[in-house]
């Protein structure tokens, strides 16, 4: 397919691998830390590193949306959830259930299968990075030319989710008897 060697890696690949290392490491901390609030904060690091990965892959608009929605909105929502459920602030040793070992085995098996399949399948695939391919202009044109119907359907879905969340979290709305 392509004759580009793995060694030496280009600068972009080194940057991408470092960011990926940060993302994977902080994700590991999210699922293993003993403090609930720290898990949410490590999630910020993970999402930030992933936004950097998107930037390296020339997907600028997706990177900024990732920062705005994941780091800005989703993590804040999760922190509010932690606060409203009166979670313990310090260390708590009962965050893991009894099936940790089974879960670790399943996860390692999943990683093994996925990594071997991916490495076997895309060993020679090489993506030329073209600056500007994921700019807001290109993506906006694509969304509003070709993806208008899914976009509108998604906005209705978001509205439905919003109303559903309000109805679920208010206590003074009763069902019909």
């Amino acid at each position: 397919m392509s004759g580009v060697d793995f060694w030496p890696p280009s600068t972009l690949e080194v940057v991408f691998l470092l960011l990926g290392l940060v993302a994977v490491g902080s994700a590991l901390l999210v699922v293993t830390t003993r403090q609930l609030v720290h898990a949410a904060l490590w999630l910020v690091v993970c999402f930030g590193a992933l936004a950097g990965c998107y930037l390296v892959l020339t997907a600028e608009f997706v990177a900024w949306v990732q920062v705005l929605i994941y780091v800005g909105a989703v993590v804040v929502l999760l922190l509010f959830g932690i606060m409203l459920t009166r979670a313990p602030i310090g260390r708590s040793d009962d965050l893991d259930s009894g099936n940790r070992v089974v879960a670790a085995v399943v996860a390692v098996a999943t990683a093994g299968v996925l990594v071997s399949v991916v490495v076997g399948g895309f060993q020679h695939a090489y993506a030329e990075l073209r600056p500007g391919a994921g700019s807001a202009e290109e993506l906006g044109a694509s969304i509003f030319r070709n993806w208008v119907l899914p976009f509108e359907a998604l906005s209705v879905l978001l509205l439905a989710a919003l109303i559903g969340a309000i109805v679920l979290s208010r206590t003074d709305i009763k069902g019909r008897r």
């Binding site: 991408f16 994941y70 929502l77 409203l84 459920t85 090489y126 899914p150 998604l154």
Partner: protein, 102 residues
């Protein structure tokens, strides 16, 4: 950029998310792990969009759609978690066993 690098990072993130969903007791931590899995899928979508140079930009547009759906999912999920916390005073998954076999 070799396509293997983003694909392997995404595979590792996904399996970390699988571990979190299976091993954690706290419902909010399980929601965080689901977010990790969704992000792994997003990274794959962006990488393959860049590789295949799709004229419709389907990969990146679908990434945006997945991000929106994830936001909706977290909103609804946290509303459900709060409702459960109000009625049961607990959000540990293995204590919510009323529907399970005795």
């Amino acid at each position: 950029m070799h396509v293997v690098y983003p694909a392997v990072v995404a595979a590792l993130l996904f399996s970390i998310g699988v571990y979190g969903v299976l091993a954690r007791r706290n419902t909010i931590l399980v929601l965080m792990s689901v977010e990790l899995m969704l992000n792994a899928v997003n990274l794959n979508l962006v990488a393959f969009d860049v590789w295949l140079r799709d004229a419709l930009h389907s990969g990146q547009v679908l990434t945006l759609f997945v991000i929106v759906i994830a936001a909706a999912e977290v909103g609804i999920g946290l509303a459900i978690v709060l409702a459960v916390f109000r009625t049961r005073k607990a959000i540990e998954l293995d204590r919510l066993r009323e529907l399970g076999e005795p």
